[in-house]
């Protein structure tokens, strides 16, 4: 996880991107959620040593980001954030599986290295796609889509409330941390101070929640936030969902890069 200030900046940047107006932003959020689910299912269904067969799937996040005007640098930055954990767990692979399965010139590539490369590609694809999805949909619309797709009402409401208060809680905690840091001269937060430090934040949050709740009740709140204008699942949404699903199936059943390579190697030489 990044530092608190960086996290808040990231959240703001994603919210800004989500307010853009592009063809993919205008699509019904449900179509994007379902297509992303299909993408993830396809990605996870590949065997542990697949590398080149995964590559055509990159078209999905790239097209989402390109049409949605999401900076590719942002996608890459997020993807790098998720990598260390994968690197640590995957680093054993080349030692576990040493049987050569592929010959590159005079190098024999073992199954372990292939599986390691496969993990990296999976990680990159999954993170860039999740980031692109939020950036072209927006968190509020995403929650509304989950709600209309049948997610438990209390959970979608919880997500909406959480998103509203992330900035407040983040900034309040950031201020408290800064105030402490300025007085502590670089001394780390000791365990015995933690209870009072975090406890004050907790009781303050709780009191705010009670005020918010009273204010909401005074305005007729009955447990459900009013939904914004709901879009219809139109032709564009169906086209998006079915088109991408067909593409994912094609990727799953035909090893497109191998076919392409065969064509190139055969036709070019």
């Amino acid at each position: 996880m990044p530092s608190l200030a960086a996290a808040i900046l990231d959240l703001r940047e994603m919210d800004r991107l989500a307010r853009l107006d592009t063809p993919v932003h205008r699509l019904d959020p449900r179509a994007k959620v379902l297509a992303t689910a299909a993408f993830l299912a396809t990605l996870a269904s590949f065997g542990p040593r697949e590398v080149s067969a995964l590559l055509p799937l990159a078209l999905y996040p790239v097209v989402l980001a390109a049409f949605g005007e999401v900076p590719f640098g942002l996608l890459l930055r997020k993807a790098l954030l998720g990598l260390p954990f994968i690197l640590v767990l995957g680093a054993f692979l080349p030692w576990v599986d040493r049987i050569p399965v592929l010959q590159l010139g005079s190098f024999a590539v073992s199954g372990g290295w292939l599986a390691f490369a496969s993990l990296l590609v999976r990680g990159l694809l999954a993170v860039t796609t999740a980031t692109a999805l939020v950036a072209v949909t927006g968190f509020g619309d995403l929650c509304a889509a989950l709600d209309r797709l049948g997610a438990p009402r209390a959970f979608s409401q919880q997500l909406l409330f959480l998103h509203r208060y992330l900035f407040l809680a983040g900034e309040e905690t950031g201020r408290a941390l800064q105030a402490r840091d300025l007085r502590a001269c670089g001394r780390p937060l000791a365990m015995r101070e933690y209870g009072a430090f975090a406890g004050h934040l907790l009781t303050r949050s709780w009191e705010r929640a009670e005020r918010v709740h009273a204010a909401l009740r005074a305005r007729g709140f009955d447990g459900v936030l009013p939904a914004r204008a709901q879009s219809a699942f139109g032709t564009a949404a169906w086209g998006f969902l079915l088109g991408w699903s067909a593409f994912f199936l094609l990727c799953r059943w035909l090893a497109l890069p191998a076919l392409l390579g065969g064509l190139l190697a055969g036709g070019g030489l």
């Binding site: 592929l102 009072a196 064509l263 036709g267």
Partner: protein, 331 residues
Amino acid sequence: MHMADALVSAAVGGSLWALSGGALAGCSRRLRREGDEGRVPLMGVLGAFVFAVQMVNFAIPGTGSSGHLVGTLLLAALLGPPAAVLVMGSVLLVQALFFADGGLLAFGCNLFNMGILPAFVAYPLVYRPLARRGHPAAAALLGAVVALQLGALAVALETVLSGLTGLPFRAFLLAMLPIHLPIGLAEGLATALLLRFVRRARPELAAARPEPAGRPFLALVLGAAVLTAGMLSWAASSRPDGLEWSVARVAPAGADAPDGAVHRFAARLQRRTSVLPEYALPGTEPVGTAAKRRGTSLSGLLGGAATLGLVAGAGWLITRRRRTLRARPEA
């Protein structure tokens, strides 16, 4: 403890999604039945608090390292297990979507490891009995240690069953459990300190703890967990190769040997365009398997590079076109 999408296979990810999704629906229904939906703003604000306080590091005495709170046990003690699971689920989803911490496919695994296990196993079986007997600090410490050990065990099981890392189960477990022992102690200490502060500063909050979850629901969750584990181990033993059974069910012929009109057409097209079939290099005798393999890897590399080139080209073209469109809105 966040699992990443890359480490989860379709079978493991899907099963735990089903399990965690069911638990979310159950918790949601429970809150509604208890007329507790008015607590939604409180849960939202506390979720934001947990999200922020997870980034506050404290020094772990005597080690020189630092730790932070995860917070499920704290939430369970303040709000009750169903609300705690809903709040943790929302925090985990935000972390997966915005911070590449965890993942969408691994969301089910993460909610199970960090939400359901602490709230529905460690809280009722360890924390509550001890806290009722008047040992709140020991309850928090032991509860957190048990929760983190169970979570680490679940991470190891899920990773090994997914079969994508090739890690041997015993070795992975022997690494995971000791690492999570001090993490659990730190979590327990932080939880105990926070709860003590709340009891002193706002006694009515600590006293207003809602009724604990009923036994039927706990039994349901545990039963579902055991069932899922059984299903998964069966799947893993019958298909040791990458747990592709969910796909194999759809395509009985096996995805490695696709058959169908499209594939036959593509194969014919490829035979006609390539100088030598079977992906072999022209000019070499495709008799030995080594030569054949070399041909395959060359075409595989070429194909991979060409695919990446095409994807990058598509991205570049779309970006450029959108830029010109934005520059000339009337176009």
